[in-house]
Amino acid sequence: MTTKATDEAVQKVIFDGLAEVGADPDRINRDATFEELDVDSLDVVELAQIVEDEFGVRLEGDDLKGLETVGQVIDLVVERAS
């Protein structure tokens, strides 16, 4: 069962997911880059799985490659879900 992917819902899941993979909660915001948050590609893979489990949106290899900021991921998930 998946959750409806509103901007607000996706942001919450991604912010929580980032904290879970080790990002400093105080530094998580839409403009932050993964590099700034010390989140590497393996962490991003886990984040993609969290997103899939929650919203049924699957992010594949190429999707993840160009993404640098948290906001870009949120926007992509919302776009894909619609």
Binding site: L42, E46, Q49, D53
Partner: protein, 259 residues
């Protein structure tokens, strides 16, 4: 995300499930090393998906045998080179038994000829089945394993690859490739509690080696071929909770052949 309790070896499935929430998948498991491995993992309490390409009878007989012993086995018709069939296999297992947390890339074929006479079809078929398919299954299995912070991938390689075997340039390339892939993937995911290892059998009594000569067997220090159960025991260990610090390595099971 729960942290399921793990019990000692040998506990049967049924009344209680001793292993983590999830299941195992063994490719090419209708016979040989795959079948022995499926039995071993089922005996550990894993629900085990058994894929087969053509040997439906063998796979169903194996599943029946496992279930009679109190285990859970799901025979699934899926050629490992068929991406859609493999995706369906994963999806079905996930729906019925949870994430695939143990993946054994065992399916393999041979198509021998010396390199000067080995045609494209024979090369591609062996590399696609023995290496490319293992990569695709690995990629598919990794994300849920990473999420679960636990996983076991065991690739069935061979002593052929690291060592030469006349007439098997395609097989050797695929198997050596499997070992290379094992190491890199292992290092990528180690910090998530996912281990990736290979086993390298020497000569083992299966369909793939039924034409091996007595002379060849005489060259083996142990003076005999191995059994599928002897290889399965190694895979069972690598798939166990206890093998949690073993990753990126190849466990050679060859009666001393490559020592």
């Amino acid at each position: 995300m729960t942290d399921a309790t793990v019990q000692a070896n040998g506990a049967r499935a049924g009344a209680e499930r001793p292993v983590r929430e999830g299941c195992a998948l063994v490719t090419g498991a209708s016979r040989g090393i795959g079948a022995a491995t499926a039995r071993a993992l089922a005996a550990e309490g894993w629900p085990v998906g058994i894929t087969f390409r053509a040997d439906r009878e063998g796979a169903e007989a194996l599943a029946h045998e496992i279930e009679t012993e109190g285990g859970i086995a799901v025979p699934i018709a899926a050629d490992v080179t068929d991406a859609d069939a493999m995706e369906a296999a994963f999806a079905r297992l996930e729906a019925e038994h949870g994430s695939v947390l143990v993946l054994v890339n065992n399916a393999g074929v041979r198509d021998d000829n010396i390199a000067a006479q080995l045609d494209d079809e024979a090369w591609e078929r062996v590399v696609d089945t023995n290496l490319n398919a293992a990569f695709r299954a690995t990629r598919r299995a990794l994300r849920p394993m990473i999420r679960a912070r636990w996983g076991r991938i065991v690739n069935v390689a061979s002593v052929v690859g690291p060592r030469a075997n006349v007439g098997q340039a395609n097989y050797a390339a695929a198997k050596a490739g499997l070992i290379g892939m094992t190491k890199t993937v292992a290092v990528e995911v180690a910090r998530r509690g996912v281990t990736v290892n290979a086993v390298a059998p020497g000569f083992v009594e299966t369909k793939l080696t039924e034409d091996v000569s007595a002379e060849t067997l005489g060259a083996i220090p142990a003076r005999r071929a191995g059994t599928p159960e002897e290889v399965a025991a190694c895979i069972r260990f690598l798939a166990s909770e206890e093998a949690s610090y073993v990753t990126g390595t190849t466990l050679v099971v060859d009666g001393g052949l490559s020592a």
